[in-house]
Structure formats: structure tokens, C-alpha cells
């Protein structure tokens, strides 16, 4: 493998290289390799020139564009991440059917970080250093992204991250195609406040970084909006919590104070099922105390008896039920790709759809897959999303998204009840946290900084450095 993957060239050639190079080469190998590389390049140039001159299938002779896929295919996160791997593979297939990019085919390199956060960093290193991929699509949890950050910054890779997250980060090498808090949490709270007239708030979440940061932002935001401290109840539960009796009863009591009450839920994963079931059993209907969730999507609902959930809300940037031809086409393709009539699509899948198309456009614009050129070209790239609008890559490496509020229906789908009138640009640094208020990210020259403090006029440590320091 070593000699073939060191420089990903067309199959025929690396076969010959392999046979040329003695397997048991002595210690001089390192020195020789650089020489060997340039030699290879010459051969490659010559070959492609030859291929062009006799116009003999120039596509096959060209290197494929290597797309690394860094999603857990085993362990606890496999439930959510496997579909994202399949999504990227489907998008690559489609792109290749259209003739690839710049006349080059695309090729998926799949690795399995197995829901193991440190392994994410190792696998990212493998993708960038050994496989020499041109771009990576990957990660779900924030902690896995933080683990990968120092690696992609050190090896100057490109990472597209498709999941809604807590913000407070902007890396030169990462493109955040999921929602920042101002693209999900804040608009959802605005909806409850203005359309439903909610005055009392329960912020319930699973005990880890995303809910804690999001709830801190929301608490500050609500207090800024004039909500009194005693009208906010904050509650954290462990992963996979299943005994919700006391908490639901507390919520019920909290809700009987004569003010309209709502629950903003950052409860993660399958702990939601017993939570909603308990709500139903204790007789709390969506019309009494609505629950708006940030982590419950179509994928999660497919494993749930949805009867007790009907009418509760979720805030996302995409729903499978969005009435739009681009979306219906995407669903048809997805069902065909998976071969499963019941397959569902969800928000992070749309984020990969957008991210993938942005990457393709940026490569076309730059005319090369060179990382620095693509980084430069991608800012300002605009591609259609699946909800009938367009997504643009902002200078802070976040994208513009519509915010949709959907009600859960008995068929496991959401029906959209509200949507922001215009697109919302992702905010890397929240305006509602002390310390992050003055920060901005702008990856255009001359600023070229993800942690620029407007108060002091200085650029702080990079996201990767901060993540490494946290460990």
C-alpha cells in the first residue's frame, strides 16, 4: 500500500512504481523518496500529455479528487453518522455521473473513527497524511470536532462539519454547514415569545457542552429581553436518562404559575423518548406546554412511537416534509440509493448536500483542488439548498440558512408552522456571551483571523490551538 498511496496516481502507474521500488529498501529510502516523487511527477506529466495528445480517455488518466469521510460507522454515534457517510457517497456518485469536477472523477476514502473521540484525530491524520485526501466531510459531536481541529490545522486540510453546534469557534480549515445558535436556538425562542406569547421558560438539556453553552446563551438572551430570573428554570440530565417523572412533574408545577410556559429542549438522542412519553402520561399536551427541541429530527423520530409527541415542536434549517421539488428529488435519489422505501432525510444530510456542492463550486472557481486556493475561492460561493433558497458561504466559514419551526406529526414527519422571513447568516461568536461579544471571525485577507477581538484589535489563538489547550 505504502508506495501506491503515498502519491495517489492512476492505478497503472503506481503498479509499475511499486515493482520498481525494492520492498526491502535500506535506510536511504527517505532521501530517495523525494527524488522518486519528482520523478513520478515528471512521468505523470508526460503521461497525461501523451494521453491528451492521443485524446485517449483523459479523465481516467487524471488523479481522482479524494474525498475523506470521517463518520462513525460503529459505536453509539453510528445511528446518526452512518447515514451521513451514505449521503456523501451518494453525492460523489452523482457528481461522477455528471463527469466529475474539472474533468476529474471523485473518489471516497471512508474511515471509521468508531465513536471514539481521540480516534477521530488519528483517523483525520491518516486521511490527510497518508491518503492525502483533498477534503474531509465528517464529525457529529462537538467533542470529536475539537479533537480533529488541531490535526486539520496542522496539516492544512479542509473539513466540512454538518451538524448544529454551540458556536464559539471559527477555524481557517473548517466549514460549518450546520446551524450556529443564532440559526436555531435564538429564532426558535423568538418564535415562542412573539407568536405563542411564552413568558416562562424551561431550559432542559443533556449534561454536556452543546446544551450547556446553548442554554447559557439563551439565558442571557432571555434576560436581555426582560424575562425575570424566576421565570427561567434550567435542568440538566445525564445521557440516556429514562426516569423523567420528577422533572416532568416539576415542569407541570412550573407551568401552573399563570403565565404561558414552554420547554426549550436540548435533550440529546434517545432520552427524548421516555421524556415525551412521560409528558403524555402526565397529561401535558403540546397546546398547554409546548416543547421545542433542537436535537430531535426525522432520523430520531423513526425509532419512536410518535403518538404522544404530536404537536410538539422542533427547530431546524431543513425538514424532510418541505414542499419543494429540489427536496422531493433529493428524497427520491436517497430512497433509490439506500434501496429502502422508508429511508428518511434530515437536517445534517442537507448540510452535507450544501457543503458538498459548495466544495465542488469552489474547486471549479479556483480551477484546482489546492487547499489554500479552495479556501480562498469558497468564500462567497452560493449554492441552492433543499428548502427552495440559497446558501452562501460567509467569511467566518459559516453559511446562510433559513430557520424553520416544525410540528411533529403522527407519521414521524414535521409540518412547518413558521419560518424566518429571510436567511440568517451563521454567527461564529455569540452576541450573548461575555467574552465572545467582541469577537469576530473573518477569513478574508487582510484580517484572516477566526478570533479577532474588536475591542483590543488583536487576533487570538486559532481554534485548533484552543482545542489542544483544552485537552
Amino acid at each position: 500500500m505504502e508506495c501506491g498511496t503515498a502519491d495517489a496516481v492512476a492505478p497503472v502507474r503506481f503498479m509499475t512504481n511499486c515493482t520498481l521500488k525494492p520492498k526491502t529498501e535500506p535506510k536511504t529510502q527517505l532521501k530517495k523518496r523525494t527524488h522518486n516523487m519528482s520523478l513520478k511527477k515528471h512521468v505523470k506529466l508526460g503521461l497525461s500529455a501523451l494521453a491528451l495528445s492521443i485524446s485517449f480517455n483523459s479523465v481516467a488518466a487524471e488523479d481522482p479528487i479524494k474525498v475523506g469521510i470521517l463518520h462513525s460507522l460503529s459505536g453509539t454515534m453510528a445511528i446518526s453518522e452512518t447515514v451521513l457517510k451514505d449521503t456523501v457517497e451518494m453525492l460523489i456518485e452523482q457528481q461522477n455521473a455528471k463527469g466529475g469536477v474539472l474533468g476529474r472523477q471523485m473518489e471516497a476514502v471512508v474511515v471509521d473513527p468508531a465513536s471514539n473521540w481521540p480516534l477521530f484525530a488519528e483517523k483525520a491524520r491518516e486521511l490527510l497524511a497518508q491518503e492525502k485526501v483533498d477534503v474531509i466531510f465528517g464529525n457529529w459531536t462537538s467533542v470529536s470536532r475539537k479533537s480533529v481541529l488541531p490535526v486539520v490545522e496542522e496539516l492544512n486540510g479542509l473539513l466540512f462539519y454538518p451538524v448544529q453546534y454551540e458556536g464559539e469557534e471559527s477555524s481557517e480549515n473548517v466549514f460549518y454547514t450546520g446551524a450556529a445558535p443564532n440559526q436555531q436556538a435564538i429564532p426558535a425562542v423568538n418564535y415562542l415569545m412573539n407568536e405563542i406569547g411564552v413568558e416562562r421558560w424551561v431550559l432542559a438539556g443533556t449534561d454536556y457542552v452543546y446544551p450547556r453553552t446553548t442554554n447559557k446563551i439563551l439565558e442571557t438572551y432571555l434576560m436581555d429581553m426582560g424575562v425575570a430570573k424566576e421565570d427561567i428554570m434550567i435542568n440538566y440530565t445525564p445521557f440516556g436518562h429514562s426516569d423523567w417523572q420528577n422533572i416532568v412533574s416539576d415542569i407541570k408545577r412550573f407551568g401552573s404559575a399563570g403565565k404561558k410556559t414552554a420547554v426549550v429542549s436540548t435533550i440529546n438522542g434517545d432520552a427524548n423518548v421516555p421524556f415525551y412519553r412521560e409528558l403524555g402520561n402526565q397529561g401535558i399536551a403540546a397546546s398547554d406546554i409546548p416543547v421545542v427541541a433542537f436535537s430531535v429530527g426525522e432520523q430520531e423520530l423513526s425509532g419512536i412511537d410518535t403518538a404522544p409527541l404530536v404537536g410538539h415542536l422542533a427547530a431546524w434549517n431543513y425538514f424532510m416534509s418541505v414542499d419543494n421539488d429540489a427536496n422531493y428529488d433529493f428524497i427520491d435519489q436517497w430512497i433509490e440509493h439506500t434501496g429502502n422505501e422508508q429511508a428518511v432525510t434530515n437536517d445534517p444530510m442537507e448540510a452535507h448536500y450544501i457543503g458538498f456542492n459548495m466544495y465542488v463550486e469552489a474547486v471549479k472557481k479556483a480551477g484546482t483542488t489546492d487547499v489554500d486556493a479552495v479556501k480562498d475561492a469558497i468564500i462567497g460561493v452560493t449554492v441552492p439548498n433543499l428548502t427552495g433558497g440559497y446558501a452562501a458561504m460567509m467569511p467566518n466559514h459559516h453559511i446562510t440558512k433559513p430557520v424553520l419551526i416544525g410540528e411533529i406529526q403522527d407519521n414521524g414527519q414535521f409540518s412547518v408552522v413558521w419560518e424566518t422571513p429571510s436567511l440568517v447568516a451563521g454567527d461564529a461568536w455569540s452576541d450573548y456571551l461575555p467574552g465572545s461579544r467582541d469577537m469576530i471571525a473573518d477569513w478574508r485577507k487582510p484580517m484572516f483571523c477566526g478570533t479577532f477581538n474588536t475591542a483590543t484589535g488583536t487576533c487570538g489563538a486559532s481554534a485548533g490551538e484552543m482545542a489542544a489547550a483544552d485537552e
Partner: protein, 532 residues
């Protein structure tokens, strides 16, 4: 009411059959009403709904219910309003709302949902409840009056008052009066406060709380007084509720641990795959529900013996293939059974799915048993509590009164002696392990009604199970029962004060300290067996 409705439906169907469908539909006033509803902007929806109600059309209820359930759609091309009978997948089954005639399947792309949101749904519930207030069955009337709480608005006051006069059932009258009083207190009526004074209903309290904050001095003062009188009663109810929560959590712990109390407590096998046996029981419930689609209740009851058998069989296989060769080597047993637990998890992931499975809760297990307005016991947990006690009683009987129980106790106390008395120790080992595993399967059946059925189900309960068995005293079934119930109660008492995460930690620390003081648990085994 229902007979009336089906009769009228039948009549309508007959009329439709007789006359030409096309002309019948053209002249149908319902068509205009529905199109009016479908085209109404958000601000006009209420008007459109009221127009449907006041039309007096027999089909109105069906339409509004469909509307509330997101089942009303428009065909994009023709503008026709249709009922969606099945909205799963890409093609939806639709029907004509005017005639009830099935129109076959139509691609979702061609349909446009008639939008509804929670605010309108809340009003709709009030309106539907109002329609139900005329039902002949007093239970239906009472339930609908209950639904009216907090949903009364100006338009409903007059019909409700009329209803109050002609209603002959005292319970229903009470509810209507309460619903009206809640509305009136909201409007600033001081006398209505007295009606709410004794009520524990959360809506009544919400209305009083709101009134207590009002600028009207007199209203605020009387509302505050009423609230004080309620507060005392509420405290009592709250204590009862917490106790119930504790017992319920405790019963789950007991169920999960009681199988382990047999395999670990009596036989001394550290079975790390115990959680996965629970998981197998839960998956059996799911499997039974797949076998009997549409009858979740029957499937659940049949799952009780089936879950026991499946888990017991798995237990026998584990015992024969691994554990019997590791007798008296606890560390190896621990590692081997841990390996088995991983294998079982992966097996379920590969064969069934890594995703959680949907286990439906039967109708008779959803909802709650209402003691009063402030205290209601959730039915699913009540059933699980009862089930745990029955399982415990059954196990006690087996261990105390049957030959098997006698043999088990004999073998565990002195294996060599028991064998020389003619007891087939190997057979007893198999039977005991099968019993413990089967009980774990029963726990799985019960847990499928409370938590997620997925490959990780077992992992969530294995630590808790060992905790309960060790705390209660190894080898003592009574100890397991008392330990489970008391740990559950302690946890629930701490939770409102400390939060779910901290409560769990405190309970663990408490157990560690307790074991330091009394290493043999709450009820240590006495006599020679304890040393063996």
C-alpha cells in the same frame, strides 16, 4: 352519538349513491366551507372554523378532527380539498371529505397541506369538546368538560351557561362551572375566585396566580387567600407524588436486579451479560408486536411468557457454553460474561438494527389514574410497579416452596453434601441460571414500556442492578426488594433538590459509605452459608 353519526353517514352515503356524484358535490355547501378554510390566512382561520361549526353539518366534526391531525390537504392542480387517510411514504392515500369516498393514492408532491398550528389546535380542541358536551355518555361529557379548562373564550361562555342549566350530572356540572370560573377570573371577576378556591386543578391555580398579580386590589387579595388555602393541600399531594415516583423508580430497579439476585446472589456468578438478557426480553416484546400488528396489548401480554422463555434459553446457552467451565473463578467469569454481553449487543445491531425499535404502549397503559386534580399516577408505571411485586412474590414462592428452590438452597450452601444426598447439582445450576435469566427477560418486557428498546438498553441497567444486589445483601431476595425500593425513593427525594445528575452521584457515594460500614449489605446472610 356515535350511532347517530354512523347513521347519518350512512344516509349521506345513500344519498350520494342515488344522486349523481358530480351535481351532489357542486351543490354541497361543505365544499365552499372547506375551501374557505384552506384558503384562509392565519388571522381568518378561526372565522373559517367557526363557519364550519355553525353550519351544523354532520360531517363538520370529522373535518375538524382531520384538520387538527394535519390530515386535510389540497390537490395542487385542481384546488380540491381532500382527506389524507395515510400519510406515510411518498404516495399518500386520500379520500373525498364530502362523500367519504376513497380516491386512491396520490404523490405527496401533488398535495398541499392545510396549515394549522398549536394556537389554532388549542381552540379547535375547545370547539370539539363543546360538540362532545352533548354526548349521551356522562363520561364523555365529563372528559370534554375537563378539556374545556383554560380553553373557554368569549364565544363559548353563552353555550356553556346554557349547558350548565340543562346538565343533570353533578360531576359534569362541576367541571363546566370550574371552566367558566377560570375564564371569569381571567376577566377580573372577584366572585368567581370562590369557585376556584378549593380546586387543585393546575389551570385553576394558573388563573389564580395570574389574578394575584393583577392591579385590581380586591381581586389580587382574594386570589392570594384562595392560593394559600390550596397550597396546604398541594404540599400533601406533592409528598404522595414523590413517594409514588420513588416506589416506581424502585420497582424498576427491583425488576432489573431481581434476576441478578438469583444468578449473582444465590449462585455467585458475576454475570455481566445480565443487562443483555434484559435487552433480549425487551426485543421479544418488539418482536411479538411485529407478529400481532394492531394488537399491542395482546402482544404485550404474550410477551411475558415469551420474554421469559427467550431470555431463559439464552441463559442456558451461556451457562452451558461458558460459565460451567469457569466455576469458582470469578475474575474469568466476569471477563467472559462481559465478552458475551458485547457479542449479544453486536448481534442485535447486525441482525435487527443499530437503531432503537418502536414498542407501542397499549391504550390501557397510557395516561394516568387521576386521584384528584393535583395527583395522578401514570398508568404504565403503576402496572410496572404491580408487575415487579408479582414477579417478586412468584420468585419467593419458587425459592421457598418448591423442590427446585430447596435444591438450589442446598446446592449453594454445600455443593458436595447436596450431591451426596442425590441432588443433581449440574441440573440445578442450569435451572437456577435459566430462572435468573428468565426473570431478567421479564424485566425487559416491563422496561420496553418505560424506556428505549435498543442495543444499549442493557448497559444502562447493569450497574444499577449490581448496586441494588450488593446494597441489599448478596443472596437475599428480601434485601433486593427493600434495597431497590429504598434506593429509588432516596433518588427521587433528592432529585428535585439536587438535580438528576447529582442525585445519582449522592446515592452512589451513600452506597460506598454504607458498604464500608456494613460490607455484607442491608441483610447479610447468616450461618454457615455466609462463610461458604
Amino acid at each position: 352519538m356515535s350511532i347517530c353519526r354512523s347513521l347519518t353517514l350512512l344516509l349521506i352515503a345513500l344519498v350520494c349513491l342515488l344522486s349523481l356524484p358530480a351535481t351532489a358535490q357542486e351543490n354541497d355547501p361543505g365544499k365552499a366551507l372547506l375551501i374557505n378554510l384552506a384558503e384562509a390566512p392565519a388571522s381568518k382561520v378561526e372565522e373559517a372554523v367557526n363557519a364550519i361549526v355553525s353550519s351544523g353539518d354532520e360531517r363538520a366534526r370529522g373535518w375538524l378532527e382531520a384538520y387538527g391531525n394535519n390530515r386535510l390537504s389540497r390537490v395542487k392542480d385542481t384546488g380540491q380539498v381532500v382527506l389524507v387517510l395515510n400519510n406515510r411514504g411518498r404516495d399518500w392515500e386520500i379520500a373525498d371529505p364530502l362523500t367519504g369516498e376513497n380516491m386512491g393514492e396520490m404523490s405527496r408532491r401533488e398535495l398541499d397541506r392545510v396549515a394549522i398550528n398549536n394556537t389554532i389546535r388549542g381552540q379547535l380542541e375547545g370547539i370539539l369538546a363543546m360538540l362532545d358536551l352533548n354526548a349521551p355518555d356522562p363520561k364523555v361529557r365529563e372528559a370534554s368538560a375537563q378539556d374545556m379548562m383554560g380553553k373557554v373564550d368569549a364565544s363559548l361562555v353563552e353555550p356553556l351557561e346554557a349547558q350548565l342549566v340543562q346538565e343533570d350530572n353533578a360531576g359534569v356540572r362541576d367541571r363546566i362551572a370550574l371552566a367558566l370560573a377560570i375564564y371569569r377570573v381571567g376577566e377580573g371577576n372577584v366572585e368567581a375566585v370562590d369557585v376556584l378556591a378549593g380546586s387543585l386543578h393546575p389551570r385553576a391555580r394558573a388563573a389564580l396566580n395570574e389574578a394575584a398579580r393583577s392591579d385590581n386590589q380586591e381581586l389580587a387579595a382574594s386570589a392570594t387567600r384562595a392560593l394559600e388555602s390550596i397550597e396546604q393541600k398541594l404540599k400533601l399531594n406533592r409528598a404522595a407524588e414523590t413517594l409514588y415516583f420513588g416506589l416506581s423508580l424502585g420497582s424498576v430497579l427491583v425488576l432489573a436486579a431481581i434476576g441478578l439476585a438469583i444468578t449473582f446472589g444465590v449462585m455467585g456468578v458475576i454475570n455481566m451479560a445480565h443487562g443483555e438478557l434484559i435487552m433480549l426480553g425487551a426485543y421479544t416484546t418488539w418482536g411479538m408486536q411485529q407478529l400481532f400488528p394492531g394488537q399491542p396489548g395482546l402482544a404485550l401480554i404474550l410477551s411475558i411468557p415469551a420474554g421469559f422463555m427467550v431470555a431463559a434459553t439464552a441463559g442456558i446457552i451461556i451457562e452451558r457454553s461458558v460459565i460451567q467451565y469457569l466455576k469458582g473463578r470469578p475474575l474469568e467469569t466476569l471477563l467472559a460474561t462481559f465478552g458475551i454481553s458485547l457479542i449479544l449487543q453486536q448481534l442485535v445491531r447486525t441482525v435487527i438494527s443499530p437503531q432503537n425499535r418502536t414498542v407501542v404502549t397499549p391504550e390501557w397503559m397510557s395516561g394516568s389514574l387521576v386521584i384528584n386534580d393535583a395527583l395522578s399516577l401514570t398508568l404504565n408505571r403503576l402496572y410496572v410497579l404491580a408487575f415487579a411485586l408479582i414477579v417478586f412474590a412468584g420468585l419467593m414462592l419458587i425459592m421457598r416452596k418448591t423442590r427446585l428452590g430447596l435444591e438450589v438452597r442446598a446446592v449453594t450452601q454445600n455443593r458436595a453434601m447436596a450431591r451426596s444426598m442425590g441432588i443433581r447439582a449440574t441440573r440445578v445450576d442450569i435451572m437456577t441460571f435459566a430462572l435468573g435469566s428468565g426473570v431478567a427477560g421479564l424485566a425487559g418486557v416491563a422496561l420496553s414500556q418505560l424506556t428505549n428498546v435498543g442495543p444499549n438498553l442493557g448497559q444502562n441497567y447493569i450497574i444499577d442492578s449490581f448496586m441494588v444486589v450488593v446494597f441489599g445483601g448478596v443472596g437475599n431476595l428480601w434485601g433486593t426488594l427493600i434495597a431497590g425500593l429504598s434506593l429509588g425513593t432516596i433518588n427521587q427525594l433528592l432529585e428535585p433538590w439536587a438535580g438528576a445528575v447529582l442525585a445519582k452521584i449522592i446515592v452512589l457515594v451513600f452506597i460506598i459509605l454504607f458498604i464500608q460500614k456494613r460490607p455484607k449489605g442491608l441483610f447479610p446472610q447468616k450461618g454457615r452459608a455466609a462463610e461458604g
